[in-house]
């Protein structure tokens, strides 16, 4: 895989992911891509733009509107030794494909005594903030994390979107790759070429000494904004786990050792969410590091309502994160 170069250019998420797909398909004939509207049209998010033309209809194709069949095709093709990538148009639609993911893809390796690998990647946009209401705004990472056999990737930067997608496709297990719709227009300067961001390595997005904030996906950006607002008053360290399973606990512990304070932020519901899980792990591995109660700012106990006034109230805003930091640090 060619290394990244020093030439830098502006890139948006969709193009970044499209380039990662393109490179993976060029490098390995076993990588195939399918889903609804992704062939001829290039995907409703333009994820697969140009790829059918380049790699042909056998490797990039449209399916019927049947997520269960799509997921089954993906898992079965992986069992046969291909390295399929599928797009689920919104992660919310995983609800109709859960069995093929959870009872099949995630379990077949175990059920076969380790005989079958299932190298497959499911790409799905997630998250609230686009006024798409209750059935197009979810972030279901907690379900997938609670499902042994799956890996879960939630990139926040354009650099990571490309590098982690490359890693996900290269992984030999089923990987849920969830990108946030509200990051659609993000633009970042990144290198040319192709690179890999390995699964399981957190990034320290901002160094600080007063408090450790763990935040991923869209919430990483909101946490950064909150930290910027507090600049000069509170020194905030921000850790972006980038992948939730595998999870880089060491980097979090290293930070908490320094700050003594832990705040986790995520937009999906609090109950049985990622925040509680990180609190559990940090308590188990570094309780003595915590100077005060670890906190989680997460989604309200509600489906996502439509009207902006309501939607903003159920998902953490910059002001919520800032307030939580201020309360903790006083």
């Amino acid at each position: 895989m060619p290394a990244e170069t020093t030439v830098r250019r502006k890139l948006k998420p969709i193009v970044a992911m499209n380039e990662a797909l393109d490179a993976a398909m060029a490098a390995d004939d076993d990588v195939v891509l399918f889903g609804e509207d992704i062939g001829a049209y290039g995907g409703v998010w333009a994820l697969s733009k140009g790829l059918q033309k380049k790699y042909g209809e056998l490797r990039v194709f449209d399916t019927p509107l049947s997520e269960c069949a799509i997921m089954g095709t993906c898992a079965g093709a992986a069992m046969a030794g291909l390295r399929p990538v599928i797009e689920i148009m919104y992660v919310d639609f995983m609800t109709v494909a859960m069995d093929q993911l959870v009872n099949q893809a995630a379990k077949i390796r175990l059920m076969s005594g380790g005989a079958f690998d299932l190298p497959m990647t499911i790409i799905a946009p997630c998250g609230a903030g686009t006024s798409e209401a209750a059935q197009h705004s979810n972030s279901l990472e907690a379900w997938f994390l609670n499902t042994p056999g799956l890996k879960v990737v939630m990139p926040s930067t354009v650099y990571d979107m490309k590098g982690l997608l490359t890693a996900a496709i290269g992984d030999n297990n089923p990987v849920m790759y969830l990108w946030h719709k509200a990051l659609y227009d993000l633009e970042e300067e990144v290198p040319d070429g192709v690179w890999t961001v390995p699964l399981g390595e957190a990034a320290v997005r901002r160094e600080g000494g007063d408090i450790t904030v763990v935040a991923y996906s869209l919430m990483m950006h909101r946490a950064m904004a909150a930290a910027a607002e507090l600049d000069g008053r509170v020194s905030v360290e921000i850790i972006d786990p980038r992948t939730l399973h595998p999870f880089d606990l060491d980097t979090v512990l290293r930070s908490v050792r320094k700050t003594g304070r832990l705040l986790v932020v995520h937009e999906s519901p609090l109950r049985c969410g990622v925040g509680g899980d990180i609190v559990r792990r940090v308590c188990e591995a570094g309780f003595e590091l915590l100077q005060q109660a670890p906190q989680v700012v997460g989604g309200v106990d509600s489906p996502i309502p439509f009207s902006k006034s309501l939607e903003d109230a159920v998902v953490p805003q910059v002001s919520d994160i800032r307030a939580a930091i201020e309360t903790m640090v006083e």
Binding site: D37, V44, L65, D92, T130, Q135, S302, S309
Partner: protein, 323 residues
Amino acid sequence: MNFTADELKRMYTTMVLIRKFEQNSIEIFAERMKRGDFPGALHSSEGQEAIAVGVSSQLRPDDYVFSTYRGHGHAIAKGMPINKVVAEVHGRATGASRGYGGSMHLFDKSINFMGGNGIVGAGLPLALGTAYAAVKRGTDQVTAVYFGDGGASQGAFHEAINMAAIKKYPIIFICENNQYAATTHVSVNCPIEDIGDRAKAYGIPGPVVDGNNLFEVVDTAGAAVSRARGGEGPTLIECKTWRHRAHCMVIPEHRPGKDREHWANRDPIDQMRDHLTAAGIADAAAIEQLDADVQEQLKAAVAFMQDSPFPDPAEIAEVVYAG
């Protein structure tokens, strides 16, 4: 069908109201999007109005309807006040769902309008529930459920029609086959010519009609409703139709020009206008008046919406859970 002149005019104006409402919403959304705002998804049913109006003409107020994310027409035709529709689509507390639902989730309990649905095909299983409730209670209410040509590829389609057929539930399953599911042609979703023919897999009738012809829809829906109300079980109706616009506002038009031309002369509202004129029910001036009345109604609804407050987040917890 034996409609009075007034009924025919009302059906016409309902179709026009749906059309004008959708055009108006798109304008307002486009305006907001120009300002960098993203007001949500909007799926226009322009071109498909005859189906909603034709089916609803055969339903009683207490019959149940389950709709889709492309459901403004279904709601208006079932009798949802236009004020509630406009207010909901623009997120006001006075909307059909008090601003919690949005365009894809219009609900109105008072007319048994059981909601739009953002999950393709997901209305069909829900329809079993109201149909069963009617059977259990011994009422003769019918349930109507809409879905698209793409929806017929979902597992839910199969499970629901199968169970309805076995139980002889009073349901009419209405497939609005507008030839495309998002950008995907129906041939990628269905290997046979007519989705209606899938009824054979369940031993029920599967009539295929021109969904742009109000009277064809009326006759077929009428027969299916009678059958359902009479305890003879469900019907699958396929309505061939065409949406004027691409899937939603963020998808550019991509459908081949020759398809568009084929359907250009088959607009259901044009056909109905011609019918009213030819039958001597309304001349050009009367039509103009009807259209103007609709515009007035819509204008008032937009004003109502603009005067309405946004919902108060303090109420969320009570809206999520029942006491």
